[in-house]
């Protein structure tokens, strides 16, 4: 079993995809609030930093602390905006794969500082971005499609990285499904109905959804489908025959979340995780091996 854990070929292109997407989404997460960034992260945000920091654990280095530290070092004009620019620059280094691991460590540290300095304004995407950046620090994400790969020679990494990543996704979906199954409104359609009618939701396209009330079984089916696809995720992705279908259904679910609940970044990062974990491009050797095994069996 342990041997199988290590035997995952051709994960490098997937990890390169993961690195690039993590960097891109990290930059996008800042740029999409560019006109309002001062309301969340500045020396005069909508909720004062002192108040925001009460919700932050004492060992977290926050953005105001970093800015004050740099100012103390002598760069008096250093502001929150300068830090955001540095953050974007570090993300660009991660995307092009220049000193990938070091870039990832610095981006993770900066991202945690940004998010935790206003933790009440954070949501699911921020946590998944932190996790993605952490995996960029650990996994061999810079060994393909990167500046690093042009400079250094790497030995072939083992498959344990991808196995850990896959187990993490399975735990996430399983618990997400279990959480929902413990409530009573996911099975009678009320949760889906309520979710699509929440304030500040479905505002991007304002898709009319009231017609769904005439088809209660459809709403119930969507709720049950969501629970099943999440709860059974570890089982369905374990078998080659059901894996592709399960991943496609999961991606479809995230597209729905993006379009209707307008959680674009959250959906994008979840789709990135799914594609990285399961849609590995096959190497020529793998393709050949599969064809040979098919021919032998027939």
């Amino acid at each position: 079993m342990f041997k199988r854990l290590y035997k995952v070929d051709n994960q490098l292109s997937s990890f390169a995809f993961f690195r690039i997407m993590t960097g891109v989404l990290s930059i996008v997460s800042v740029l999409i609030i560019r006109d309002d960034i001062h309301l969340f992260y500045s020396d005069d945000p909508i909720v004062p930093n002192d108040l925001l920091e009460l919700k932050t654990r004492e060992f977290i280095v926050t953005l105001p602390e970093i800015v004050a530290f740099v100012q103390d070092l002598g760069w008096v004009s250093f502001t929150f905006n300068h830090f955001i620019l540095v953050f974007i620059g570090l993300n660009l280094l991660l995307i092009i794969g220049f000193c990938s691991r070091m870039s990832a460590i610095l981006v993770l540290f900066s991202q945690i500082a940004i998010v935790k300095s206003a933790v009440i304004f954070s949501y699911g995407f921020d946590y998944f971005l932190s996790m993605s950046l952490f995996y960029c620090c650990i996994f061999p994400v810079g060994q393909n499609f990167s500046i690093d790969s042009l400079i250094w020679k790497y030995s072939k990494p083992n498959g344990i990285y991808l196995s850990i990543f896959r187990i993490h996704i399975c735990i996430a979906y399983f618990f997400s499904g279990l959480f929902k199954a413990l409530g009573y409104n996911w099975l009678n359609g009320e949760s889906i109905w309520k979710a699509v009618h929440l304030p500040y939701v479905n505002t991007d396209f304002s898709i009319p959804l009231d017609w769904m009330a005439d088809f209660p079984y459809l709403i119930i089916a969507i709720g049950v489908f969501t629970i099943l696809i999440e709860l059974l995720h570890p089982l369905l992705v374990s078998f080659r025959k059901t894996r592709d279908l399960c991943v496609m259904a999961t991606i479809l679910m995230h597209v729905g979340i993006a379009v209707i609940l307008n959680l674009w970044l959250f959906s994008a990062i979840m789709i990135t995780w799914n594609l990285t974990a399961y849609f590995l491009p096959e190497s020529t050797n793998q393709k050949l091996a599969r064809k040979v095994s098919l021919n032998v069996s027939t």
């Binding site: 969340f40 108040l51 009440i120 735990i171 997400s176 413990l182």
Partner: protein, 189 residues
């Protein structure tokens, strides 16, 4: 070989921690949702483990300190804050439900913060919840003051916090299609 063993050991511990965080989060949500007392042994043990300083640092700096109970056990209701600007004569100048945001994505961040008002309407009545309520009041005050600063000639801001209650599927099918706004609290600044 050593690197492989080290990786495997780290991987196992990492996965165990993710499972413990998820389990702890699941139990916490379950107890809060069904209004049970949090006396379960598993909850107590996992809670103590996750508050251990080194583990706490690890899960906070890896982003794994979150459970995965998105929109669960049930989808909770949302909140709407109505900020009314009033001039010196006591007349209403303007009314808004949002701070002066220019980007749509900012609304997602703002609405994430509004979930704190659940502590106003539920939970155990102890010192912690009292402190939490004071914190919520302070945050509400600050947000209102920020809006007050953007409007000239404003003497006072009235903030009303509403629970947005959209009719259930059953009620909607019976012809009740109007959402209700239930007043949770009101502050004048």
């Amino acid at each position: 070989m050593y690197k492989q063993r080290f990786l495997l050991l780290w991987g196992i511990l990492h996965i165990i921690l993710i499972t413990v965080v998820s389990l702890n989060s699941l139990l916490e949500s379950y107890y809060s949702f069904y209004d049970f007392k949090k006396g379960n042994v598993v909850f107590t043990v996992t809670n103590k483990l996750l508050y251990h300083s080194s583990i706490s640092i690890y899960i906070n700096y890896t982003g794994t300190n979150t459970g995965y109970g998105f929109f669960a056990p049930n989808v909770s209701s949302g909140f709407i804050l109505v900020y009314t600007s009033i001039n010196h004569e006591g007349e209403e100048i303007s009314k808004t439900t949002l701070p002066p945001f220019k980007n749509k994505a900012s609304i997602k961040k703002y609405s994430a913060a509004l979930s704190m008002y659940f502590d106003e309407i539920g939970g155990e009545k102890d010192d912690t919840s009292d402190i939490e309520k004071k914190y919520i009041n302070a945050v509400t005050n600050c947000m209102a003051k920020k809006i007050k600063a953007t409007d000239k000639g404003v003497d006072c801001i009235n903030v009303k916090v509403y629970l947005y209650d959209f009719p259930s599927l059953k009620k909607y099918r019976q012809g009740n299609a109007k959402p209700r706004l239930l007043l949770i609290k009101e502050i004048n600044i």
